[in-house]
Amino acid sequence: MKLTGAQILVECLKEEGVEVLFGYPGGKVLSIYDALYQDDFSHIINRHEQGAVHAADGYARATGRPGVCLATSGPGATNLVTGLATAYMDSVPVIAFTGQVPTTLLGRDTFQEADITGITMPITKHNYLVRDVADLPRVIKEAFHIATTGRPGPVLIDLPSDISDGKTRFRYPEKVSLPGYKPTYNGNFKQIKAMASALRKAEKPVLYVGGGTTISGAEQELLELAEKTQIPVVTTLMGMAAFPSSHRLALGMLGMHGTVAANYAVTECDLLVAIGARFDDRVTGKVETFAPQAKIVQIDIDPAEIGKNVPVDIPIVGDIKKVLTDLLPLVTPGDTGAWLAKTGAWKEKYALSYERNEKYIAPQEVLEILSELTKGEAIICTEVGQHQMWVAQYYQFTKARSFLTSGGLGTMGYGLPAAIGAQIGRPNQLVINVAGDGSLQMNIQELATIAAYRLPVKVILLNNSYLGMVRQWQEHFYAKRYAGTFLENPDFIKLAEAYGIKGFLLNEREKIKDVLAEALAVSGPVLVECRVNPEENVFPMVPPNGAINQMMGVMES
């Protein structure tokens, strides 16, 4: 029997075990929507295509399975761009299908035509414009394979409407044949031995852990490595949930808003082991002063990451879980006592702290209490800004895949739709979006999606009436000229209630715990608006392109 391209698409999704599709309809995907409808395929209608792609991304980050989204041609497709770039920067397996004008009208500026494969070339791992319906099963098979293997990333498939409507015999290929795509999984054993020997010799080693650890599912191996060798661990924003925040060996986040202990340790270490981390400028600060005395080991599945920003002494290309598994039998407990005493003393002396203020709620305190109330076990999504950094600093993560945040692109508007995807992928987990007042309004329409599907997402809004992170830079580097950063905001509680979501107002310090507890106990979605100190800053802070051990706003305890 012959199937239409649209039916083939649905069959392929089933073959790949896709349980849900996030999307938004339009003229050039009518046949696809019809096929989904006829098949009763589970589908979430977001309220904006950006919401759909971030939801697919959140689903993928929370579950480890690929997230899939669908948009129509032209404006639908271009609305995916920010979400694809977000997924690309953080190596998230997202598969995006877009409608397109029929092949016969391509290239003629047809109504709702946009060259989406051209536009997304630099922000996808790979993309396809399907020109023959007979190619469709192969293309979809390849797309899932490429998105989920090696260093994961988004893949886009553009489907002209005559392809969705065209008919062919359907057979899903069993294997892919991609002569130019062969990721390396096993680390070179000689290099792994060299790493083991470097670990043995080091007196002041540090494990520098990034998001690749989570992608590889190597949290357990990392924990074993750290404990067996007694080496302190610093994490990137993307690596926060890969190692328990309250562990004795955890020094916290490094970089621009890192802890003093993490930044001092990296500056003084004699061996830095980068595990799925890419030496981003927000981490290194001024590169010349980054880990200046250290021998550097880097483990990454993407060969292009090795030595990209910082020269590496022992490069290991491979999957982190595999490499650490091979490494573990070779390592011996090191004599790091003196070093741990030193890093431990920094950790204590320069513990993160903030000023409590009679007049205002400190956002940090809200997050400390949130962390306590949820025992660090919730899935936390964030938007982008100060609130995001405070989550990284104050939430005590205990579980892998529990911190969903746009690290590489820094996309405001990511958190709310990502929470939708996370809640759908992990229906029994508590999913919280910690938001800023600016960011929340970038995809606020997704409150409608949350209400419509009765998703019990909890939104904790830290409202400072500012684009706080930008205001902080203006305070320090532009003599407090707050250009364009004060926000005259709507009544968020009324807004939530208009969407059918229960709102809570928190504006007294004494009530933080009670209000949060009450809100978290609600079985449906809630929005808690916390009126926080408008001029609070994220500290410590490394000034742009400064050395990471020279931080502003350091407090001693």
Binding site: M121, P122, H126, L129, I146, P179, G180, Y181, P303, K308
Partner: protein, 162 residues
Amino acid sequence: MKHTLALLVVNQPGVMARIAGLYSRRGYNINSIAVGETEDPKVSRITLVVEAEAAHELEQITKQLYKLVDVIKISDITLDDSVERELALIKVKSSSANRSEILQIVDIFRAKIVDVSRSAVIIEVTGTQDKVEAIIALLKPFGLVEIARTGKVALVRSAVRA
């Protein structure tokens, strides 16, 4: 320093755009790019001449190219024993008065005159990039009207495939 890279890529629409786009996006310079089918119609060969100062830079370019799903193989053949050729068509102003002078130059370079009109000739030359540059320099005083160059193509001499 200039490097010659020989790429084998999947013969697919868009592959040139991916490669050229990657170069401009990552801030690298391409001196020339030449593409054509190989003995296997599913595979194309691209010869790239690129500028890279440090070894580190070339390594990054190569790794980034390898990340493209359509790129099968990359060889830096700069230092290999290889045959390198470029073809150029050079249109030069010419009148009966100076035609023999031009012919002399054409002979020395074993080039060919492939078109003659009243006021111009078109010269076809094949050779290394140096040779092409040299003949262009010699023809310049006559007045260059237009030039079309293919960019370098190259193959390594030995029986193995690069």
